[in-house]
Symmetry: D2
Subunit: 404 residues, 4 copies
């Protein structure tokens, strides 16, 4: 056993931390008060700097124009980027574009790569992913209302999506739609289809207020309607009916990325909590950190963050070594475990700040509202817990399918 971080990152990680701290964090407050659009010119400059250093789209292979990091290397980097709500965007590895790039790289045709992948990796455009639907429970992904009817060389799409992150300002959307409602397995009914945002009939209804704030641009989640939306069959990714198989592909690494980003949030919140604990005085000369209740928050947070990071790195290591299928248990476990650590650490950091923790003086309250979703998106806590437990119990002899 060897817990040494990859040698290749020895210098990189502190540099990136410094860059995030000095260049990116100062923009955070404006994200809350002025919005994403107002920040774009400054963000574009930072992205340019990252590009020059060869670190843009770091998770993508160099053959695609990315930074060429391995999964384990990117996991470490993602933690540093996660320390600011803007970190991943500045490095062009923000959700959902990061996942879309991977899907296009693995499953796209040469033409699709040329048209959609290249400008995405170069950071010239953004994209979105149309999976979630208001009328159907996300815990049952095979239960989908959006239809893509085939007419010759054309798909005609009708449906209703929401929580389509980053749709506002995106160039295209990868839409999950049922292409064969009669397929024997419910997991073989849907396909992923690339739909340019300007296709007639594809409407962005609104940006959904999340924690009371609708956001804009990349920092928003939209409700979308598809009415008689027509795209060529060539826009399909992979074989027809392979929508879920391809989606499965993205979820493994996607969850590692989310978890490491959350760890970055945790570490930032931890820093803020400790800085507050030593600087805020309860009475002259008596800082908050002398109080045992605050000490307990700090000790518990430290232990839980350490635990969470080791679990995520172990899952990434296992996925790299044995493949995503063998690491399913580990990935389920980190999804709910880390999301809950995140919520607890944010809660304690806010409490340590008192009223100030609710304001834009730190990103804590922003995360409190916007990352409440961490326990919901990409599989809610209860879905992962139940499926992990059932897989375990089947090894102890539980009859498959006997559990709800």
């Amino acid at each position: 056993m060897d817990f040494t971080p990859p040698e290749s990152l020895r210098n990189l990680l502190p540099e990136v931390r410094g860059f995030i701290r000095d260049q990116v964090q100062p923009l955070e407050s404006a994200l809350q008060t002025k919005g994403f659009h107002a920040l774009q010119p400054e963000l574009e400059q930072l992205r340019e700097e990252v590009r020059k250093n060869g670190l843009s789209a770091p998770h993508m292979g160099k053959e695609h124009g990315g930074g060429g990091l391995s999964l384990m290397e990117f996991a470490h980097l993602a933690e540093e980027l996660g320390r600011s709500p803007l970190g991943h965007y500045v490095f062009n590895c923000q959700a959902p574009d990061a996942g879309n790039m991977e899907v296009l790289a693995h499953h796209g045709t040469a033409a699709q790569k040329e048209r959609f992948l290249k400008p995405l990796v170069r950071g010239e455009i953004r994209s979105c992913f149309g999976m979630t639907e208001p009328e159907h429970a996300g815990s049952n992904p095979a239960w989908l209302g959006t239809r893509a009817r085939r007419e010759g060389d054309t798909y005609v799409l009708d449906g209703h999506k929401w929580f389509t992150s980053g749709a506002d300002g995106a160039s295209f959307c990868i839409v999950m739609a049922v292409t064969d409602p009669e397929a024997s397995s419910p997991y073989l009914r849907a396909s992923q289809i690339i739909v340019p945002m300007d296709t007639p009939g594809f409407k962005r209804v609104r940006n959904i207020p999340v924690a009371g704030e609708a956001g804009e641009g990349w920092a928003s989640h939209s409700e979308m309607v598809l009415e008689n939306v027509r795209v060529p069959v060539d826009n399909r990714l992979g074989q027809e009916g392979m929508g879920f198989v391809i989606a499965q592909d993205r979820l493994g690494p996607g969850r590692i990325y989310h978890c490491m980003r959350w760890l970055g949030i945790c570490e930032r919140a931890f820093d803020l909590m400790c800085e507050r604990a030593v600087s805020r005085e309860l009475s002259p000369g008596k800082p908050l950190g002398t109080r045992q209740m605050v000490q307990e928050w700090i000790a518990d947070s430290r232990a839980e963050i350490n635990a969470a990071r080791l679990m995520v790195l172990h899952a990434a290591w296992k996925m790299e070594k044995e493949g995503a299928a063998k690491a399913r248990d580990e990935i389920s476990a980190i999804k709910f475990y880390v999301a809950n650590v995140l919520q607890r650490v944010l809660d304690r950091a806010i409490q340590t700040h008192g009223a100030m923790g609710l304001t834009d003086a730190t990103p804590l309250a922003y995360w409190w509202g916007h990352e409440r979703g961490a326990r919901i998106y990409d599989g809610a806590d209860e879905v992962h817990k139940s499926s992990l437990a059932r897989r375990i119990l089947e090894r102890y002899g539980l009859k498959k399918g006997s559990a709800e």
Copy 2:
């Protein structure tokens, strides 16, 4: 022992619940998307209706033009109003005006009542309360930076306040300021002084973003600066140096009001959770509520809400019967207990809704962000826990003042 709710409320409570459900709740979504100002005309109509029914300012004695409810009666009513973020406003018993009315009624001179209390009870103006300061810990209320220097018949105020709720649009602020920095007891240093908002030198810097949203009008919390603000000494409430004694007065009932309002939020969240549990299907014919994890959230929430309500009503009963001083332990206990039940119930209700719980389709996400402060304002959890424990331990023989 008799747990029957006051006879006088038998018909009133269901009527108020119906009014809140039918007239007030439909405006909630707009509070998140359009803001408070846009809603004011409609809110004014509802207030007018409440006034006609003699229920405006229900906590104030009839001699002041209020509804004349006892503490226990108002506690029950406050729960019904709490079911909507707008309920208390419509009944003109919203914080901080409700407390300001009480303070003016108990400590105001005839002239102060005429000028400030009457229009407040009639709902013609709003007011705010300037206590919290960014530079000083709220857990040590005697440690205050704002100064009121006396010059003849005038006070000259200088200081920095924040989280002055409802300052945006208020007519006056009751400002806590140090009048005698040398007083032997730190609790005899400050006075409460009425400062009209248009007094020169009294500036609203900004509405502070809370959970990423700055709000407006009554639904906002401001940062304020006082620079050479001059008001007549006649604007002082009560004797000089009595600021904390008067503040103590408002905190007892104030905490009962907050707690009952939170219980209203809890019950509304509980309703939303149950309605979702029976209507959202995981697969055709299999609603969420058939799942044990959801059942556990419902059972735990039911038990905790019941416990919380009984504790608050018991504290109100004790306060009415034996006075606020004798009920200090009970009031400390409800402050942190109920605020934590509130957070857990909101958390479970959001989780039951999945992605929808993050949107403006319900007030859950709004409360998640805006009521995170419940564990902070009016005494943070840790402050109440520590002071409750110290009072208890002193009865077991702990030397007074020996604990931190």
Copy 3:
């Protein structure tokens, strides 16, 4: 609303507390080191004193020779008795005799009362209740292996029971056995049958070690076997097939009794915790109670115990006023809520004592082991939570029986 405890108890409760403290508590350590049998002579003397004061079997009507307290009065008394593991025994209202007395009083024939109830109330004999079976889940009470086959005027019983509390030394057992396996409703299949312990074929296999300690006499739980055990049909309680209906009867008050006993444990543990916190010094002059972590345990415990007591008293009040059927939700809620408060309070009290908390210097460790069952017996947490939630959800429209 009126939270004043019953006037009739004003003097009684402090007297009983004093008696328990001065006479009963000193025997506790010996219960752990010498066992129940060694204590019996001293316990008998105390019981005699209680009898003289008319307080023996306080929950039973005076017409049966009991103390004649109402449910609400007994609930208050039970808390005082619960402060010692021996309190209920000394007052002859220990489980399972207390419940057996009630069942015999309500459902026994004159002959049954004469033979079994009278000596029980007088404290001359003990009894047990044979319900739980090792092979069948307690959460499904209708699923029972013990059979009572009728042969003329005789029942022939065969079966296997365990956790038959107090069987060691009892005179008779009320056995739950299936009399009609074909009854349409599973809840009409069983009957309760009185079986004298010396009936041939009725064997006590062993006292089961609980938390590593098998106990003896009343303070034990036995495994029992019935092989061709023959008793007259006259030994049946009530009508044939009414076993569950009668059992239901005992559960309502029984749960109130348990909960109030647990509250007595909680209050005793709370006292021990506070006494330790003020007397144990971490360094000269610095007692444990000056530490915020300990303060938090004390504050949380105080709040939770208060909440628990109010809930139990409210449930008792509702049961007295509207009957057990109307109070089902409240009884489910207290069963799991209070049992969990009990565990948390014991846990904190032990932690406050450090190593000493594990020893026989206090009853804390004894309760830690022996009351771990509180979350299991009379319906496990998860059973009550699920059934409470389902009853609630059915009011919101959940189809009856649709949930697991």
Copy 4:
């Protein structure tokens, strides 16, 4: 990073697991019902078998007659041994002998090694460690009542110890006693002195009931008195005044050992929980494991155990690589984190078993009582949390010593 377990253990670990399962676990129930002495003959046979395989005292260097495993290797092995309460004893690496062997090996003179270490490693004798005192808080180890007064070449010891584990039947005790009460640093006042159990004046008062059970032999914790106990100065370990420095030495690896043993308990409890979940039917054909609440216990336990193991292995790796001093934070964190995981996992496993979980049918209830101490011994939760937090906060600028 590489999470592969040491190659050297690839075959060993499954063999040891099989041996524990087939040879050791069958004796567990008798430990609860018959006691340690009755088991000794069978245990001796198993120890002989382990010795033959060269695995006795596996943590000790081969030069001392041990198994020669590295810290990391032994950590893995200790988890397997921990699956039974008797595992470590059978492999002669039980506390406190394991630590005593290490201390003697590092600090003992040649004569001390010959007389005390050799027979200990060979498993011919047992020993104990006299640190804890009833009158002084364990959280302040420098505050000690036992004195060793020097008279020429003799130490004369007087004092009172308790929780001296394994004293019943031990050959010698390493006693921590103050040799220089005036030493400038409180951490330089005490020495460790070897005291044969048969030295006049050294009395075992009793075995202390823990969770109501006093135990015997190795499986017990004694109260001890030293009255005018005289031993040669040559029995001192290391330099005079070095008692705490030497103790510090043992604590680092000692905590790793405890934590890995607890993980063995966790894994065994997890197995028992899963086996129960698939075999216990709630109704015919519907096992417990189909219920979501049970699934949640399983999923949470799996995640927490994985987290705990990774943290412990990481701490062991860091200690091996950088030394115990550099790994202080990690060791504090695992001490409280793993002890709490242990308690939660045991709690869930018991709950899954229902009444059976309280009996001797599994070791769960035994551990529930006897491992409640895990959160207390070797530094209580709150001590580790506070000291970890203070070390962290000092890096953020907290003035050393400013916190309580």
